[in-house]
């Protein structure tokens, strides 16, 4: 079997490197940071880690139902297409900044993209 995307990206170490960069981008983005600032930072970071692990095709992949539930409250307060696009932008920019090869970035983006309907509650 071919090596998984998660391992090709560098596994947990890659998540650790990416979470630092990614979460800072998200918090600095006024379009979406309101979704991320109202809870304890350590908890938020744990969630970002879960997000990236998933986008990297990592071990604890979530089921569609979980994604839907995890974001249902956010949809209630206005989470929409534009917000989703912003997160996709930061994911791409983060991986580019970390010098991940373009084909691996595309694979990670495709995994995140596949959750769009669930995240947006459609």
């Amino acid at each position: 079997m071919a090596e998984s995307l998660f391992n090709r990206l560098g596994g947990e170490a890659a998540v650790n490197a990416a979470v630092d960069v990614f979460y800072r981008k998200v918090l600095n983005d006024h379009r979406i940071n309101r979704f991320f600032t109202n809870s304890d930072m350590d908890k938020q970071i744990a969630k970002q880690r879960a997000f990236l692990t998933m986008a990297f095709g990592g071990p604890n992949s979530y089921t569609g139902k979980d994604m839907r539930t995890a974001h249902a409250k956010l949809v209630d307060i206005g989470l929409n297409e534009d917000h989703f696009n912003a997160v996709m932008e930061h994911l791409g920019a983060t991986l580019t900044e970390l010098k991940v090869p373009a084909d691996l970035i595309a694979e990670a983006a495709a995994i995140a993209e596949s959750t769009r309907n669930d995240v947006l509650g459609r």
Binding site: N16, V19, D20, Y23, R24, L27, N28, T37, D40, M41, I45
Partner: protein
């Protein structure tokens, strides 16, 4: 609703309760302190089910594998048989040898001990008095030949332990001391990394320890300390810190007072506001935050946004259990 089994007896566990709640309600004495999953006083062990992951957060991996968990963070979804940890985490006994006022509401206590005991300046321990009342305090001194521990205990308005310590705890009294915990301490081998330390009130205790550790290990990069208090009389160790700053060119001491106009001897503002305004970019810095939980939370976020890496931000918030 689920069932908790302790010492062979069954207790009804309500949906919104922790295991600690359930057992305390049944008049079972479980040691506890902060009730926020920090002090680890309420460590217990599951005899069957795997504990919920939240209740194992912060425990050593070896303990997690043995199904140890924190009762104050454990709300199990299935029946669970639990026990107190068979072997107490190496408590030692220490004797108060010195007591001295540092400021209006902060008292320095020096305890001496005989048994082997390992710690870093800046870590914290749980102190337990004769009747079991337990609180966490940070260690202000460096380990050395003299077998002592120094703590700065702030009197809290309704603090049972701190009031007792200030009023009645006399030299010669014995206290139980837990193993030293936490990762808020100096790291060897990073002598070139600049350090920013922000503390309020007795949060200076661990920071002073860390600074002394850094300087005695010949730390090369800048070390900046911001110590804050609402009023000038709340500042302490001022002379010690000034004299350190004179001796070591890379150590910079900034006392801050939020409710008084700046003078020659302190800056005006909350310590973390002043500190973060002074240092526009924290990329590559190591940041230590000790004191008021709100200050710690806010500063963590700001330091991170100013470029500090998540792994380089250390905080042991003071969890002030009322009573």
């Amino acid at each position: 609703m689920t069932t908790i089994i302790f010492n062979g007896k069954k207790y009804r566990h309500q949906t919104n309760e922790t295991v600690l709640d359930t057992l305390l309600k049944a008049d079972i004495q479980i040691p506890n302190g902060c009730r926020e999953g920090v002090c680890q006083s309420c460590l217990m062990r599951s005899l069957d089910a795997v504990p919920p992951s939240l209740s194992q957060k912060g425990l050593k991996e070896s303990l997690q594998l043995q199904k140890f968990f924190l009762a104050c963070r454990c709300n199990p979804e299935q029946d669970m048989a639990v026990a107190l940890p068979e072997h107490e985490l190496a408590n030692i006994t220490a004797i108060v040898s010195h007591k001295e006022a540092l400021s209006v509401d902060i008292m320095r206590f020096v305890l001496s001990f005989q048994e082997p005991f390992q710690f870093f300046a800046g870590q914290f321990v749980n102190l337990t008095r004769f009747d079991g009342l337990t609180r966490s305090y940070s260690i202000a001194n460096l380990p050395g030949q003299d077998n002592i521990l120094e703590f700065h205990i702030k009197r809290l308005p309704f603090g049972r332990f701190s009031s007792w310590a200030h009023n009645d705890l006399k030299p010669g009294t014995a206290l139980k001391v837990s193993e030293a915990k936490g990762s808020c301490h100096y790291l060897l081998g990073k002598s070139g990394q600049p350090m920013l330390l922000i503390g309020t009130g007795s949060g200076l205790a661990p920071l002073a320890g860390i600074i002394n550790d850094a300087l005695s290990n010949n730390h090369q990069a800048p070390i900046k300390l911001y110590h804050g208090s609402s009023e000038p009389k709340g500042l302490y160790l001022v002379d010690e810190m000034r004299s350190l700053a004179k001796t070591y060119h890379n150590f910079d001491y900034n006392p801050c007072v939020s409710l008084a106009k700046a003078t020659d001897s302190f800056k005006q503002g909350r310590a973390h506001d002043v500190a973060l305004a002074d240092t526009p970019n924290l990329s590559g810095w190591r940041v230590y935050l000790c004191g008021h939980p709100e200050m710690v939370q806010q500063s963590k976020m700001s330091a991170y946004l100013k470029g500090a890496s998540l792994n380089d931000i250390y905080a042991d918030a003071f969890y002030t259990t009322p009573g």
